[in-house]
C-alpha cells in the first residue's frame, strides 16, 4: 500500500519533470530568428519617454531614437544638420537663425513647423531640462518663429557654445499640437510618444520591453532595420550572458571585468566611446574639500597627487579602457586642447618630501566619500596613500546621501566624482570651478574652489566667438587649475559597447540604431 503510494508520487514527479523539459526545451529564443530586428539591453526602465523634461541617461538612451534636435552631432561632436537644414550666426554671436527642413512630419502625420521649436524651448526645455535651463535661461533673450520654416534665437550676449546644445540629448523638439496647454511632466504622451525621429513608438511594457518600428517617412532616410526592442535587464552580468546566448544584440556598456571574456567570443564585437546619453566625455576626479584645514596648503594636495599612480588605476581597475588625463578638461573637447601642462606625476619620494615640508601630522585620517561604483578606485588609492603615510577612511554612500554630504553639508575631506565635461567647457566644466556654483547644487564645485580670476576667465570664454580665442582662454583656465589643484584628474573614462556580429553599422551618439543593419 505504502509502496504503491510512493510509486505513484514518483511517477507523477517524473511526469511533471518530463513535461516541463518538453515544454521548455522548444522554441528559438535567439534574435537571429528575427533578422531585421535589433534587441538592445538597458539597465533600468526609463519610466517615461519624454527626453525634453529630464537629463536622465535612462530616458535619453531609449527615447532619443524617437526625436530630433535642430542639429545633430557627428562622431567628432561637430554640429551637422538635423531638423535645421542650415543656420547662420550673426557677426557678434548674439543671433542664431535656423532654416528648418521642409516636409518633415510627426509620427502622427501632422507637419513639423517652427512653432514646435518655439514651444519646445519656451514651455518645456527652458523650464524642465535641467542642463538646457541652467546654461541658456540666463543668456537667452527670446526664441521667435520668423515663418513656418525659420527660427531665430536672440541672446543677451555673444554665446558661442549654442550649436553644441541643440542635439536630441540637449534640446529634443516636442510636438506642440500634443503638448501645448498641458503639463509636460504628466502628459499621457510621455508614455505614448510622437516624435519626428528615425523610429516610431509601438508599445511599452513597464520594466520588461519597449518596442519601436522604423519610421518609413524619416526625413533623413528610413533606417535599414525594421524594429528596435529595448529589453530591461538590470544586472550587468545577466546582460552579458544574454548577449552570449544570442538573446540580445546590443549592450550600451560592458563591465570592465567581463570585457576580456567577450573579446574572445567570435560572435561579439566591441567598441569604445566617450559619448553617452547620460553624459559625454566624463572625467573621474578626486575632489579636495578646500574648506578643510588639512587642504589649505597646496603642498598637501600636490603630495597626494604625486602619491597616486593613475596608470595603475587605468590598468588594474579599468583594464586599460580609458585614458590617463594630461589636462583638467577632457582631451575629447578640441576647444580645450592644452599641450604642455605639467600634471603631477607618480613620485612617492617627492610626495613624502612635500608632506614633510608642509608638516603633515602623522596619524591624521582623511574621509574619502564615494559612490559604490567607485569602490575599486578608492581601495587602490587608499593603498597608494598609505604608502606615503596618509590614512584614508572610505565611506561608500548611495547617491542621494553622497550628494547631501558632499554638496549640501560639505562634510567630507575628499570625494570621488565623475564630472561629465560634455562637448563644450561652458556646459560641463564651468560648474566645477566657478565660485558661484559652490553650495547645495549636486555635482557643482565640490572642492569649494574660489578664485576671482578663474570666475572671470569662464565669463570671458563664454562670450568669445573665435575658436582660437576660446582655446587660449581655456588653456589659461587649465593652467590655473593645475597650479591650484582643487582636484586630481584620475581618468578619462570610456564606455565599452558590445554587439553581435550579425548587426553592424551602428552610429555613435543618440541615434545609434538609425544606421544599423542586422541579418
Amino acid at each position: 500500500m505504502v509502496g504503491s503510494a510512493w510509486r505513484r508520487t514518483r511517477s507523477l514527479l517524473a511526469g511533471a519533470i518530463c513535461g516541463f523539459i518538453t515544454v521548455t526545451g522548444c522554441g528559438d529564443r535567439t534574435t537571429e530568428s528575427r533578422p531585421d530586428t535589433l534587441v538592445a539591453a538597458i539597465e533600468s526602465d526609463p519610466g517615461q519617454l519624454n527626453p525634453a523634461i529630464t537629463t536622465s541617461g535612462g530616458v535619453h538612451t531609449v527615447a532619443d531614437l524617437l526625436y530630433n534636435g535642430l542639429v545633430g552631432l557627428d562622431e567628432h561632436q561637430r554640429p551637422v544638420p538635423e531638423l535645421a537644414r542650415s543656420w547662420t550666426v550673426d557677426e557678434d554671436g548674439r543671433l542664431y537663425r535656423f532654416h528648418l527642413q521642409t516636409g518633415v512630419r510627426w509620427h502622427d502625420g501632422r507637419p513639423f513647423t517652427a512653432a514646435d521649436v518655439v514651444y519646445s524651448f519656451n514651455e518645456v526645455l527652458l523650464n524642465f531640462h535641467a542642463r538646457t535651463r541652467a546654461s541658456l535661461r540666463a543668456v537667452l533673450l527670446s526664441v521667435d518663429a520668423v515663418d513656418d520654416s525659420t527660427v531665430e534665437f536672440h541672446f543677451r550676449q555673444p554665446y558661442s557654445p549654442f550649436l553644441q546644445q541643440l542635439n536630441v540629448v540637449e534640446a529634443p523638439i516636442l510636438p506642440r499640437h500634443l503638448y501645448a496647454g498641458r503639463d509636460p511632466q504628466t502628459s499621457r504622451h510621455n508614455i505614448a510618444p510622437v516624435g519626428t525621429g528615425p523610429f516610431r513608438f509601438v508599445s511599452y511594457a513597464p520594466d520588461a520591453e519597449i518596442r519601436y518600428a522604423r519610421n518609413p517617412n524619416y526625413f533623413g532616410g528610413p533606417p535599414a532595420i525594421a524594429a528596435v526592442i529595448f529589453r530591461v535587464i538590470p544586472d550587468p552580468t545577466a546582460q552579458v550572458l544574454a548577449l552570449e546566448a544570442g538573446q540580445v544584440d546590443w549592450l550600451f556598456g560592458v563591465p570592465a571585468a567581463q570585457q576580456k571574456r567577450l573579446r574572445g567570443n567570435p560572435r561579439v564585437r566591441m567598441r569604445q566611446t566617450t559619448i553617452g546619453s547620460g553624459g559625454t566625455n566624463c572625467m573621474v576626479t578626486l575632489a579636495f574639500n578646500l574648506d578643510r584645514a588639512a587642504f589649505t596648503d597646496v603642498r598637501i594636495r600636490r603630495a597626494i597627487a604625486h602619491a597616486i599612480d593613475r596608470n595603475a588605476i587605468l590598468e588594474r581597475i579599468q583594464f586599460g579602457s580609458g585614458r590617463v588625463p594630461l589636462a583638467p578638461i577632457s582631451s575629447r573637447i578640441p576647444l580645450a586642447t592644452a599641450p604642455g601642462l605639467q600634471l603631477p606625476v607618480y613620485d612617492t619620494a617627492l610626495s613624502a618630501r612635500l608632506l614633510e615640508q608642509a608638516g603633515w601630522p602623522r596619524g591624521q585620517v582623511l574621509d574619502l566619500k564615494l559612490l559604490p561604483s567607485f569602490r575599486a578606485y578608492a581601495e587602490l588609492i587608499r593603498a597608494q596613500l598609505r604608502a606615503v603615510g596618509i590614512d584614508a577612511r572610505l565611506q561608500l554612500l548611495e547617491q542621494a546621501v553622497f550628494v547631501h554630504d558632499v554638496f549640501d553639508r560639505r562634510d567630507f575631506d575628499m570625494a570621488m566624482i565623475s564630472y561629465c565635461n560634455g562637448t563644450d567647457p561652458q556646459i560641463g566644466v564651468r560648474r566645477q570651478y566657478v565660485s558661484s556654483s559652490i553650495g547645495a547644487v549636486p555635482f557643482s564645485n565640490a572642492a569649494g574652489y574660489r578664485n576671482a580670476e578663474m570666475d572671470s576667465l569662464f565669463d570671458v570664454a563664454g562670450r568669445l566667438v573665435e575658436p582660437a580665442d576660446r582655446q587660449r582662454t581655456y588653456l589659461h583656465i587649465q593652467q590655473l587649475a593645475v597650479r591650484d589643484l582643487p582636484y586630481i584628474w584620475l581618468l578619462e573614462s570610456e564606455a565599452t559597447q558590445a554587439h553581435l556580429v550579425r548587426c553592424a553599422g551602428f552610429a555613435f551618439g543618440a541615434h545609434f540604431a538609425a544606421t544599423a543593419r542586422c541579418r
Partner: protein, 320 residues
C-alpha cells in the same frame, strides 16, 4: 470567532495607518531629493528651487503629511515625482508579475518541501535524512543573488534550456498556449530560485515536526491498530507540524517579497521590486508610500488569514 475576526479586521486600518505614518516620516527625514533623478548632474540652483516649489517640498512636513493623508483617504496616492504618472497605476502594472512569481515560489515551496519533509522524517537519522538536511542548510545559507546568477549561468547560458532573463521572449507576439508556454519557460528559473529558501526552511520544519510526531503515543496506537503508513503519515503525523508551517509561511510573506526584489533584478523580471528599488534611489515618495501601504496591507492580512487557517485546522484553538 466572529468577534475575534471583527476585532482583528478593525486593527488592520490602524496598523496600516501607523506603518504609512512612520514610513512618511522616515522617507522625508532621509537625505536626498527626487529632483536629483530628474536633473542628473547639471541642474543649477534655480532649477532645484523651481522643481522643489512645484512638488511642494518647501511646505512644512506636517502640512505635507495632512495633504498626503487626506489624498490617501480618497484613494489617491499622488503622482510619481520622476515618472509623472499615478503611483498606484505604476504599482498596479507590476503587481501581476510579482504575484505570479511569489505565488509560484510559494506553491513550489510547499509542493517540494512537504513530500520531502515527510520522506526524510520516515528516515530520520539515516543517510538520506542527513543528506537532505545538509542540502537544505546549504541552500538556505547561500544568498539568493548568487543562487540566481549561478542558475542563469548553468541552466540558461551554458545548457541553453531556459531563457536568461525577462517574462517573455523579446518581441514575442505569441497568444494562447504559446504565450503560456513562453511565460512558463521564463518563470521556471526565477520561481525555483525564489522557492529555494522556502524549500530549505519548510523541509526542515516538516521533517522535524513529523519525526517528532512519529514517536508519539497516538501514532504508535494508529500503527498498532493496523493503519497504513500513508494514513499514519498524512492523517496522524502531518496535521500538527502543518500548524507551524502555516504560521511560518504567514510570517515569511514579507521575506518572500524581499527575496522577489533580488530575484527580479537578477532575472529582469518586471515586478514591483525593481520599481521599489528605483523609487528608493530617487526618493520618489509617492511610489514608496503606496508600496508600503500595499505591502503592509498584504502582510497584515496574510497574518490574519494564517490565524484563521490555524483555527480551522486545529480544533483546540478557539478565538473569542
Amino acid at each position: 470567532m466572529m468577534r475575534y475576526l471583527v476585532r482583528r479586521l478593525l486593527l488592520v486600518p490602524l496598523t496600516v495607518m501607523a506603518i504609512v505614518t512612520i514610513s512618511f516620516i522616515m522617507i522625508h527625514a532621509a537625505p536626498g531629493d527626487p529632483v536629483l533623478a530628474l536633473a542628473g548632474e547639471h541642474g543649477d540652483r534655480a532649477y532645484y528651487e523651481f522643481m522643489r516649489e512645484r512638488f511642494g517640498f518647501d511646505d512644512p512636513l506636517p502640512t505635507r503629511f495632512v495633504t498626503y493623508a487626506s489624498r490617501v483617504l480618497r484613494g489617491d496616492f499622488g503622482n510619481s515625482y520622476v515618472q509623472g504618472r499615478s503611483a498606484a497605476a505604476l504599482i498596479a502594472e507590476r503587481v501581476p508579475a510579482t504575484l505570479l512569481l511569489t505565488a509560484s515560489a510559494l506553491v513550489l515551496g510547499a509542493l517540494v518541501s512537504i513530500p520531502l519533509g515527510l520522506w526524510t522524517a520516515r528516515r530520520a537519522g539515516g543517510r538520506w535524512d542527513g543528506f537532505v538536511n545538509f542540502f537544505a542548510l546549504t541552500l538556505y545559507s547561500m544568498p539568493l543573488f548568487w543562487v540566481g546568477q549561478m542558475a542563469v549561468v548553468v541552466f540558461a547560458a551554458r545548457m541553453g534550456w531556459l531563457p536568461v532573463e525577462g517574462i517573455a521572449t523579446a518581441g514575442s507576439d505569441a497568444t494562447g498556449i504559446h504565450r503560456v508556454t513562453d511565460l512558463l519557460q521564463h518563470l521556471a528559473l526565477p520561481a525555483v530560485v525564489l522557492a529555494s529558501h522556502e524549500i530549505a526552511v519548510l523541509t526542515r520544519l516538516v521533517r522535524s515536526g513529523v519525526a517528532q510526531e512519529l514517536g508519539r503515543d497516538h501514532v504508535r496506537m494508529a500503527r498498532a491498530s493496523g493503519l497504513s503508513e500513508r494514513v499514519i503519515l498524512l492523517r496522524h503525523a502531518l496535521p500538527r507540524p502543518m500548524l507551524t508551517v502555516v504560521t511560518v509561511v504567514g510570517t515569511r510573506i514579507g521575506q518572500l517579497f524581499a527575496g522577489a526584489l533580488v530575484v527580479e533584478i537578477v532575472f529582469g523580471w518586471p515586478g514591483m521590486g525593481r520599481l521599489l528599488l528605483s523609487a528608493l534611489q530617487a526618493r520618489d515618495a509617492p511610489i514608496l508610500l503606496a508600496f508600503f501601504f500595499l505591502v503592509s496591507c498584504s502582510v497584515v492580512i496574510a497574518n490574519l488569514v494564517a490565524d484563521v487557517i490555524y483555527a480551522a485546522i486545529d480544533p483546540r484553538i478557539r478565538y473569542g
